[in-house]
């Protein structure tokens, strides 16, 4: 098992004919990802790496029963592409591009409310269930199937944490990057819930960072769980003085409470194991063996 995607998930790629998409689609196919269709306006009827291409998401779903989508569209086109995914009833959409305007994200969040779609991203490496499905831009050859669930709010730290899991001799059930942007589709709560419902996931590694209160909200949810799976958490940004991305405005909303130390406190109190340094993740995992 895994969460959100596995080898049976029928996947479509929005923006399949772009340069960056080509590189990553080829790699995803080589890994065995069940990519059933692609969407690219005006390219319908062609084939791309053997994958049939359609003009619209709806056409792609009708013809190929796609259930989940990965979006390789540029930031300025993300809003309309997500809208298409939501209106077509896809259960999952993963949007890779960075730099989606904040206002577009506010509109997207409103669209998602009450819809069937879970949005991961934007500005994320995506989701990978090793050796089964890759929706995103993960580095090659660092993922192993296993029973550690990994969820991270920082793209590149996702890779670091994956290497830590490998180093401890474990593998990953599913790896999810929530996205680096100011406003993201899915937060820790939803993913923690899914990992707890997944039989294969035995332990969860959570990577947080300075900015916003996603970690605190995740910790609060975890504290309320009756049966807790162990969570190992790391928070980046101890030496940064404040929410450097949102700065002043972010601090006004949270009353200046956004420090890495406060996040750690909240997570410890909720019952998570908090490590001070990334390289302690593997040591910590080894003690679980």
């Amino acid at each position: 098992m895994s969460i959100l995607v596995n080898k049976h998930t029928k996947i479509l790629v929005q923006g399949i004919t772009g340069v960056q998409a080509s590189f990553h689609v080829q790699r995803a196919l080589a890994m065995g990802t069940n990519i059933v269709s692609g969407v690219s306006p005006q390219r319908g009827g062609t084939k791309y790496f053997g994958v049939p291409v359609f003009n619209t998401v709806k056409e792609a779903i009708t013809a190929t029963k796609a259930e989940a989508s990965v979006l390789f569209v540029p930031a300025m086109a993300v809003k309309s592409a997500v809208q298409e995914a939501v209106e077509s009833g896809l259960k999952l959409a993963v949007t890779i591009a960075a730099g989606v305007p904040v206002r577009d994200m506010l509109e997207i969040k409103a669209m998602l409310k009450g819809s069937a779609t879970t949005l991961i991203g934007p500005n994320t490496p995506g989701i990978i269930t090793p050796k089964e499905a890759c929706l995103g831009i993960f580095p090659e050859n660092i993922h192993q199937p296993g029973n550690i669930g990994l969820v991270s709010r920082s793209s590149t730290l996702t890779y670091e944490a994956t290497l830590e899991i490998d180093k401890a001799g474990f593998g990953q059930s599913t790896v999810i990057g929530l996205g680096d942007d100011m406003i993201i589709g899915t937060d820790f709560v939803d993913i923690l819930k899914r990992f707890h419902e997944d039989d294969k996931t035995k332990t969860i590694v959570l990577i947080g960072k300075l900015g916003g209160m996603y970690e605190e909200i995740g910790a609060e949810f975890y504290a309320g769980l009756l049966h807790k799976k162990p969570v190992i958490a790391y928070i980046a940004g101890t030496t940064m003085p404040f929410d450097y991305k949102m700065g002043y405005a972010g601090d006004i909303i949270t009353h200046g409470k956004i420090t890495a130390e406060r996040k750690r406190q909240a997570m410890r109190q909720a019952g998570m194991t908090v490590v001070e340094n990334l390289s302690q993740i593997s040591e910590c995992l080894k003690t679980l063996k």
């Binding site: 506010l106 709010r153 980046a236 009353h255």
Partner: protein, 400 residues
Amino acid sequence: MNIHEYQAKKILQSYGIKVPEGAIAYTPGEAKRGAQRVAPHGPWMMKAQIQSGARADGHFLEKKAGRKGGIRLIKHRKDIFTEAEKMLGATLVTKQTGDKGKTVSKVYVEKYYNTKQMFYAGLIINRNIPCITLLITASTTNMLELAVNEPEKILYTNLGLDDKITDEQIDKILSFLHLDKKYRSGLSDFINQMHKAFLELDAIMMEVNPVGIDEEDNLIALDAKISFDDNALYRHPDILQLHDDSEEDDSSLKAAQYGFGYYKLDGGSIGCIVNGDGVALSMADMINAYGEQMACFLNVKGGVDKDKISAGIKLIMTNPRVEGILINILGGFLRCNLVADGIIAAASEVGLNVPLVVRFEGTNKDEAKDILDSSGLPVTQAESMEEAVEKLVKIMRESD
């Protein structure tokens, strides 16, 4: 992107919000003529146009500018020229500018308004809900200190994308500010217009501090600050034109041109190049654990162009505070070999005068390592982030 007060006021005015009549001046003569144009009789306000808050409480580095801050009340016509002369070209230091301050190259001269009452009104993006949040407080001093120490003095009202402010919300604000009900329609217009401008122009922060109520019960934006979403500027070419290059650190500016992020810290001696803000944060923590400090970091994001990467690397290499460089790339979207090519190109142009430790992982890492190995450059390679930090700190200490 931030803009100046006078630009922000012009925008608010175009949305029907009342602002004081004002004139921008680059010379004392312009200030004098401008003052006469905006109000035949004094007093006037003269305000240094630098992008910083707390200008009134700031001080000038130069003696010629006098002891007063960057916002001055001028009662007599004859003082306009001399006060403008004092401020123009001088360096204003505020709580937000750092010790070096910012050079005042223009002042804004405004008609002075007598006010019965003042309050703060701000709109910001609240990422946690997410929504736009309206902040109201009777205090017009430091918002951040207020938010941290006395948050109960701020009224937070969450606004949707399409909603106008409701009567209920307005009544709550009126009673919070102890304002008479007669201000209801004026205040609701004021806030709705701010909200409209905020949305239409893709702002991420908009502050009117203070809003003043004049003797005729008008609500006037006496100061204004707007920050725009950099990612949405492509939709607003007119706003992009308001960008003032002189306000930005040269390195940040250059980095932004290449689509990179550049962040400078106070102090520190290690320059870092990473692909991702999270890694930068994590590296700053690790460098700290090894007893050193990060001086700056460059986030090359998913940059895929060798020349751009080389230009970015040069920014770090030429920072005089940098005594050692750490490059940590975990390639996913970004391919390590392009970074290796970029390092060589940059080193051949500006020379490599400080120790450099590189750690590659992920997409095309072996190719990248080979490129560096065969380049003959004095580069140390590492297998993990921690090893890279450890190695660099050791080399730096040995060469001391």
